[in-house]
């Protein structure tokens, strides 16, 4: 019996070994598949959007603040997405204002100050933070953070730019922490030792030695955080108030309490109600192209920066 089993196993091994060429072909095809999929994403998004290219007024799309894809009877639709572009921009900026100090602080603490055991725990907790799905953040923004903002700040509307930005910041922070921590760890210990020998305190090492030495990595971390904020959908949709608004005064800090509308939320909200192949549908794919372009640029550039660091160290 056992010899039979053995021979079957040997046969299986022989079969697998003999299949070197087909397996190699399969592996190679799968290896190239990522390129294929990225190409396919570009192809299909462009394909669905393409029919609208010739008659879309691009100046209006980027610089007009009037988003009425399905107009009232007798009117022409207008696709002025400036308010929506502003919304995405505003959420990105405000969320980075919250996420960068938190993320950087946590990364420095984990990498330089925390005792080893606490370090492990913090890393695991932050990993859990990263795993929480965006719909949960949206739900928290809607039912917990919204009323909290209303109560604490005494404002009328709790789902607004601030709320969405806090949610997006919490989602972006784990990414920022892990990339920043990698960047800080990549700084050779000899730098730290040299600074110590010169009498520097730990904090002085951090901001006089580590920050300059790891600045590319920290830059990459913030860029990936930006990418996350730009592309976030559900949390933004549910917590931002989804209102096409541009504030009159950009220097009034109270603008964080205004409701905004983001690119991603526009697609998520309007896509189900649009008819496939209509102009509105195609313009939503144009928004998709804008998002795709931003995210690919951000990711490729930050990847190059990170690779550069690896090569140096």
């Amino acid at each position: 019996m056992s010899s039979g089993k053995k021979s079957i196993r040997a046969l299986g091994a022989k079969l697998l070994d003999g299949a070197e060429l087909p397996i190699r072909i399969a592996i190679t095809i799968c290896g190239w598949s990522s390129i294929l999929f990225v190409g396919a994403i570009f192809f299909f998004i462009f394909k669905e959007a393409a029919p609208v290219f010739p008659h879309l007024d691009w100046g209006e799309f980027f610089f007009a603040h009037r988003w009425i894809p399905i107009p009232a009877e007798g009117n022409e639709p207008s696709y002025g997405a400036m308010g929506i572009l502003y919304g995405t921009f505003a959420i990105t900026v405000v969320s980075m204002f919250i996420a960068m100090p938190l993320g950087l602080g946590a990364a420095v603490y984990i990498s330089e100050f925390a005792p080893p055991r606490r370090k492990e725990w913090l890393k695991i907790l932050i990993e859990f933070l990263a795993a929480i799905p965006s719909i949960i953040w949206g739900f928290i923004g809607l039912v917990i953070m919204g009323p909290l903002i209303q109560k604490i700040l005494g404002v009328e509307v709790g789902i607004n730019l601030l709320n969405a930005s806090i949610m997006v910041a919490l989602m972006a922070v784990p990414l920022i922490v892990s990339i920043s921590e990698d960047a800080l760890r990549a700084v050779p210990d000899s730098y730290r030792e040299a600074a110590l020998a010169l009498g520097a305190s730990k904090w002085e090492i951090v901001y006089k030695v580590l920050f300059p030495a790891a600045r590319n990595g920290l830059l990459a971390a913030s860029m990936l955080g930006v990418g996350r904020a730009v592309g976030e959908t559900m949390a933004v949709w549910m917590a931002s108030g989804n209102t096409d608004n541009i504030p009159e005064n950009f220097f009034n800090p109270l603008l964080v309490l205004e409701r905004v509308k983001a690119l991603t939320a526009t697609i998520a909200g309007e896509m189900p109600d649009t008819v496939h192949g209509s102009e509105h549908y195609q313009v939503l794919f144009v928004i998709g192209i804008v998002l795709l372009t931003i995210s690919v640029i951000i990711n490729v550039v930050s990847d190059l920066i990170i690779k550069g660091i690896r090569k140096e160290s």
Partner: protein, 323 residues
Amino acid sequence: MFCDDNVTYSMWRILTETSVSARNSLKNMNRKQLIKLGAQGALTLGLAISLSSCGGGDDLNAISVNGSDTMLQVGLAWAEKYQQLNDDIGLTVNGEGSGTGIKALINGTIQIAHSSRPMKDTEREQIKAAHGKEAVQHIVGYDGIAVFVHPSNPVKSLSLEQLHGIWAEGGTINNWSQVGGPDLEINRAGRNNASGTYSFFQSAVCGKGSDGKGIEFKQGTAAMPGSTAVVEFCETTPSAIGYSGMGYKTEKVGWLQVSKTTGAAGVGPSNPTVASGDYPIARALYIYTVGEPEGDVKEYLDWIKGPEGQAIVEAESFVPLSN
């Protein structure tokens, strides 16, 4: 996709051949045969996936429904109840918008389209062209669009004119104090631009300008992710105003009485006022089918129009036909 007998046969053939060639390859390891084996295996897998994907709904008489988001609740309630009564019917209900529902009816992917607006002539022509049959309209109930406010709001009644001032582009009412309320800026919450409720409320309240063209909503009106989200926004925001089907009323939100002219007595949305036409912002709920419905679809529609279906219409706070 590939649901014909030919494919089934070829799949069977490939399966048997595969097992033969697998046996051969055990005797005589040969690279070429192995490549063939791999290719056939992949093909078989692909066919198996495509076949199993068209095997769905074999055992159930499937009816697919799509259309108005407003009618999603009542549509789901109909389906749930009907399913309990008729075990052999499989009903899938979705509410992706009236336009999408009608488009799906044109494409033949659904049998029943819910719509909160009457079908356009161009859509009727497309149905005719695609199926050779007329689209048939069934009115299954009525819906009043209520104007929701925070329950603490002292404003209880507004005229259509005042609503126009609040909602329409160029309207001058931006603060509750202008209509006898507290000194609070008005926060407007509506639906997204492609929703049927949006366009109905737009035509009923914003109306048309003197040039015969429709007037759009004011900038800065929130596009909430769902009808319930509008109501919840009004529950929690003292300065809010929002519109949604009267079916979405809860105890924690207030709604306005609406009068046709300023000074006249306001009318609240209710079954009798909507059915009689006294409440000015009301519409019919439609179901569309291609041609006169037959078989299961007919039974389902008759049931919807019958007492049990209409009881659900009323339970979901729409206005039933009998009123």
